[in-house]
């Protein structure tokens, strides 16, 4: 117990001296129900001869055959996967952002290198997130962004050496990418031109960062996308890409969490829908939130395979881990009596209850599994304590 907690408990248990009544009226700390003090002092109290115990109404239960499974069950929810929001931004001379074409639709898979949409007549290409997007790149510019772009273009199959300078080969590779998407690469405005354009065989090409968008992880599924003709709002949101699959998440207390290590098979149930899947992540220890009825413990994340039917975002589910056990004789736990550490049952019949020693093989949720034993069958009535 931590010191502050100990103090709190001791204060709660201690008798309130009279002079304390004034501040106590402010705090009105009740000594209440606690008995830790008693537990410590009462062993020295004088004893009296044991009085007869109060009469107890006999209650019995029926022996059943059932699976007393050693399963740990958590309550969780379907948590939607993370999404990335892709924004278009107006280039110089563009008054407003209008979607003039889309290359993808909701549910489509997107990967880097593909065309996502056309906004105000210009393409939005998916650029790997390894390229830092912070400026337009003109011929002869150099820097880490140029080097990363060259690596990406080469990766796409457009021949291009990693020189770190936006040279002719890089421009041609970029132009090839644009051409594959059905567009011409942008060319520098006269004031952006490096050197004498007229003296070159082909015009320079430049990299305009506003014509690219990036998705964390470089792939995902289109959750939503603005349709052709849509006028984008000021924030320029053109699409939302789901970059992580939906999953099941449940808070486990620290002992429950030991049954949910990564890779553990888990059975998820939502109503009549059942899915066998596995734990993919377990968080570190997290504080609880009493306001949300959330206990301290660990968040267990279980995979929801794409396309699995019957699970909607926010839906409540149960997540069970642990092997199911074959059916056996079973009685309510409170039917199990002990004498010298040996468990036994009292089986009711016509006369006095019959005592039968048993072996308890499992205990879960108030039920005890009993190993088969002569003298005990399904339907027998056993006395409860």
């Amino acid at each position: 117990m931590q010191d502050s907690d100990s103090l709190l408990v001791e204060r709660g248990m201690r008798r309130v001296p009279r002079w304390w009544l004034v501040p106590a009226a402010l705090l009105v700390v009740l000594t209440g129900l606690g008995g830790a003090y008693w537990a410590g002092t009462s062993t020295t109290a004088g004893s009296e001869p044991a009085p007869p115990l109060a009469a107890v109404v006999p209650v019995s239960a029926t022996v059943e055959r059932r699976a007393v499974a050693e399963q740990v069950v958590l309550s969780g929810k379907v948590v939607p996967g993370a999404q990335a929001t892709l924004h278009a931004s107006p280039a110089a001379g563009v008054d407003r952002l209008v979607v003039t074409g889309v290359a993808k639709e909701a549910g489509s898979r997107v990967v880097s290198g593909e065309l996502l949409a056309v906004v105000s007549g210009r393409p939005l290409l998916l650029l790997p997130s390894s390229v830092p997007l912070y400026r337009d790149i003109s011929p002869s510019d150099s820097g880490p962004d140029v080097k990363a772009l060259q690596e990406v273009l080469a990766g796409f199959g457009y021949p291009c050496a990693t020189t770190g300078t936006f040279d002719r080969a890089t421009q041609q590779a970029l132009a090839s990418w644009y051409r594959a998407a059905g567009f011409k690469a942008p060319v520098p405005l006269p004031q952006e031109e490096a050197g004498d354009a007229a003296s070159k065989n082909s015009p320079d090409v430049m990299f305009r960062w506003r014509e690219f968008v990036q998705v964390p992880g470089d792939s995902g599924t289109v959750a939503s996308i603005a349709g052709p003709g849509s006028i984008l709002a000021e924030d320029g949101v053109v699409a939302r890409i789901r970059i992580a699959d939906d999953s099941f998440v449940a808070r486990a207390d620290v002992v429950q969490a030991e049954s949910f290590v990564v890779g553990t098979p888990v059975t998820v149930r939502a109503g009549s829908t059942v899915l066998d899947t596995a734990v993919v992540q377990v968080s570190g220890f997290l504080e609880g939130d009493q306001g949300k009825n959330e206990v301290p413990g660990k968040d267990v994340t279980v995979a929801l395979p794409p396309g699995a039917q019957g699970f909607a975002a926010g839906q409540s589910v149960t997540m069970a881990a642990g092997a199911a056990v074959a059916e056996s004789l079973a009685v309510p736990l409170i039917a199990i009596r002990q004498d010298g550490g040996i468990p036994y049952l009292l089986i009711e019949g016509n006369g006095e209850p019959r005592r039968l020693e048993v072996k308890v093989t499992a205990q879960v949720d108030g039920w005890a599994a009993i190993a088969d034993v002569d003298g005990l069958v399904v339907g027998d009535q056993v006395k409860l304590q």
Partner: protein, 234 residues
Amino acid sequence: MSAYWYSDGENVLVNTAVAFLIYDCVEDAGFTVAPWGGAGKALQDYRYGQWSRSLAARNGAVPEIRVIPGVMDEQPERPPLSTRQQETEAKCTNSVGRAGLPELLDGLAGDASLQSQITRNAVVLTELDSEYLAYRKSWEECLAAKGIKLSEQGSWSLQSGGSKEDEIRVALLDLDCKDASGGARKPYDLLAEYQAAQMIDHQAELNALAEEKVGAVERAKQILRDHGVADARL
């Protein structure tokens, strides 16, 4: 036994009534008493340690602290008092005392009341009970198998690593062992049976105590009404 102790709410009423009388005394002495009031707190029964898995998962081995609605609204912290006012408050606290309102609280140190005696006897009898002893033995063996040690021999509290995570873990394993030994409430139930058995022998005295309690609570309510507390808060 709860019929013979104040409930948490009744305890708030009685303590607040006593506080009003003390503050009357302070004001009669010429001082101004700053606004006061607020909620109370109560602890769960913890005689035989943690008894609920949900409480253990939330609090570890620390008893649950419940907030008991107060008779008066919560007030900011009282301003510091002058030495003379502190002396007067102490004097008034002594002179008013409990104002004839008995302290009927379970667990008060040194309490020689019949209720306390019954509980003390019941605790001793419970600890001699063979079912209790078997339960305790089974619990200790289960804990030992899990590598958990008692804080001290005979105690219901357990050693833990000190972190909140470990405290909760130990409290949950403690509950598992209690469940495997017959249920976490078993010793509490045994205690209640021994209390009930003794109560039969002292029923007439206990009836008188119950009446005394009812009378004290009614008197406290009247004091509170006289000081402007609305019936809806009583």
